[in-house]
Symmetry: C2
Subunit: 419 residues, 2 copies
């Protein structure tokens, strides 16, 4: 974990600017620079003070009654929230987007110190029902306008976006139930042209946004696509790799092999959609996970033990690779989870699974510096070794924040205010 | 087949330049514009007057004793020969390429009116044993030099090349037995950079050559690669699609769906490597066809009947698509065939299978204008309807050639020499 850890020599200065020599200070971590993410779907109702059930979504969301409890669990473990901008649900009628509700949810997270990510601006699945009637030129115009609108409206609150989702399959995807104009646009214009328009529009609306290409297809096809996109001069800020593991944990070898294949493009990698089941696995012959729907999919004691072990292995493996900058787990509660699968870290009844505690033991334990008492030397210095992120120092009844932003040996200063 | 057929109004002129009115003439086709190809591996020994067995090659070659007989069958059905430039066999010792032997083979075909294609200039499989010791820069220099040399040495005889083969898998291919520098080059530089160098060198050495990208992977990965290559501004003259059907005939639907996905890039399509078995099929679970090797793989009566039916369906389907400009069948005789599979149109004992006769009934039957007697009108005109290609007209004891080069209604003239 050397690439995540700073060995800092911290000089503590008093309000007078002089080193605070031979003094007791306490240092504690307050935040991670690494993106430990989860979807925030479950908390949209809470942020909007809604008491009714959330509007129906194929991607779930727990009952509002659990909101406060889930919020507490969420905020104790994660620092990055993914919010759903599925176009079909966000703008079921042209010109009536669900902006205010999502904006309140985004601000709720931002107010609590979280980064907020929007998912996704362009996707063939869950495109609105009114799109197929448009000509391809009109589809393009509608897609561009939708990107401009959302990225502009949420600028400053949502500054990370999956600019476009699952392009490998986009032009050749066949699903009569959700037949739409995005597939047609991508077939006629090409994958790279469609990616270009998504990135162009989003970049123009928020030049400082982090824009991702995101895909579940991690085969050579995605490698070829990424290479073509980069050759075409499109600025991609990070590569999104999904890792829904409904059919079983990949294991370290496959995970590292996958990371190597995508890391060689020199871009940061975000694991955008990670899941591990605490129940029966989906059979291996299922190709589209959406095709497997069963009436009841319980979380089991054996499954929960396995999930806890695998989530630790998965996060350790991902953090061991220097290209990985963020991991978003896809779900907190089993209640209302995608496909009804027991992917949550919390059972439907609100109790935590072993996986929650195991992940917390990493994120807020092994990879976290708790409040620690140190003594400055004659030059006012202490040595702080910790994960990159935000820290708080207390001394003489005053406190000041500082950040560790670079791995390895670093020197930094912190000045205490007058108490 | 409208896109392959001309409805020509042909004006026949005498040596004096005046229309040959109310005269009997005969017209017959002498060649196809469409590329009906096969590998020419079996005939290299014949062209070189060798009587020993051909040097060992994993891609086969029949015994020299059958040369004359196979040559006759080959030339009666095909007009485009693919010759093997597998680097490992072509230049087993650095600086000692097998140029003269291949050049004699290429000229043998060219002298008999055939186009000759070289396969392939760059491929990770069958790279020479001496390549792995080189640094990546040296590998690049060696690859560039090899391309320049072969394309220059064969210019005017071999003017069609698979510039690079199977790039989708190239950087991630793992095969310890043939570990080589090409995989490393492609991993470090990228697929598109490797394709660019292959096309650049080949183009520089022979600006009028037809250069192909060729792959067996016909999934979205190849689509993504093609799109990236075109976005990168690399001039690809035709897309090569392999279609080794050792695991069974694709059928019309899959074939047309595949053609549609690649035709939308607007490039001519060559089916570069087509095979259909006249015996037991390879089990569907085999991923790399090379992994399936059995001691005996006989051609069977049932298999031969099936192969004959399927080859007709396959060629009809391919010719029905306006983007397809050439089909190369991969093997004439079962003797020495790739993997020992009964892919040939001729049995190991030299007798023709039903597939040979069925294909010939298309190429030299249904799609061919045999000698036909016509009578010119008062303006010296006859109507000729036939497949695009070369024709011969005879009248008054003299003969002249003409070509039908464009489909649909066309007008042309032919002037008879003095007899």
């Amino acid at each position: 974990m050397a690439h995540h850890t700073a060995d800092a020599t911290l000089t503590v200065l008093g309000p007078d600017g002089l080193p605070l020599a031979d003094h007791e200070v306490t240092v504690e971590q307050t935040g991670h620079r690494f993106g430990f993410g989860n979807i925030g779907f479950d908390l949209i109702a809470l942020a909007n003070a809604e008491t009714d059930a959330a509007p129906e979504s194929p991607f779930g969301g727990a009952a509002p009654a659990q909101g406060d409890h889930l919020a507490e669990l969420w905020l104790d473990l994660f620092n990055t929230a993914t919010l759903p901008f599925y176009w079909a649900g966000f703008e079921p009628e042209p010109g009536r987007p669900d902006t205010q509700r999502l904006l309140r949810a985004a601000r709720w997270f931002a107010d609590r110190g979280c980064a907020v990510k929007g998912h996704p601006l362009v996707w063939h699945t869950l495109a609105p029902d009114w799109l197929p009637e448009l000509s391809t030129d009109e589809v393009e115009a509608a897609v561009r306008a939708r990107i401009r609108r959302e990225v502009t409206d949420f600028r400053g609150v949502v500054d990370v976006w999956d600019a476009i989702n699952e392009v490998v399959i986009m032009p050749v995807f066949v699903n009569e139930e959700h037949r739409n104009g995005i597939t047609r646009l991508c077939w006629e214009r090409g994958r790279i042209a469609t990616i270009r328009l998504a990135f162009e529009e989003a970049r123009a609306a928020n030049p400082s946004a982090t824009l991702l290409l995101n895909d579940f297809n991690l085969s050579s096809a995605y490698e070829c696509l990424v290479e073509g996109v980069l050759e075409a001069g499109i600025q991609v800020d990070a590569l999104g790799l999904q890792s829904h593991m409904h059919q079983g944990y990949w294991g370290e070898e496959r995970t590292l092999e996958t990371l190597e294949r995508f890391a060689r493009f020199g871009l940061p990698i975000h694991l955008t959609e990670s899941t591990l089941l605490s129940g029966q696995l989906m059979p291996p012959e299922i190709v589209d996970l959406n095709d497997y729907q069963i009436p009841s999919w319980p979380s089991t004691p054996d499954g929960e033990a396995r999930q806890a072990e695998e989530i630790v292995r998965h996060y350790r493996t991902l953090l061991s690779h220097p290209s990985v900058e963020a991991i978003t787990y896809w779900g907190l509660s089993d209640d209302g989870s995608w496909l009804g699968a027991p992917v949550g870290l919390v059972r439907s009844d609100g109790t935590t699974k072993p996986s929650y505690d195991a992940l917390r033991a990493l994120v807020k334990g092994e990879w976290w510096l708790p409040e620690t008492t140190l003594r400055t030397d004659a030059a006012g210095r202490v040595r702080v070794r910790g994960f990159l992120g935000d820290y708080r120092l207390r001394a003489r009844g005053a406190e000041a924040g500082f950040a560790l932003t670079a791995a390895g040996e670093v020197t930094t200063e912190v000045t205490l205010p007058a108490s």
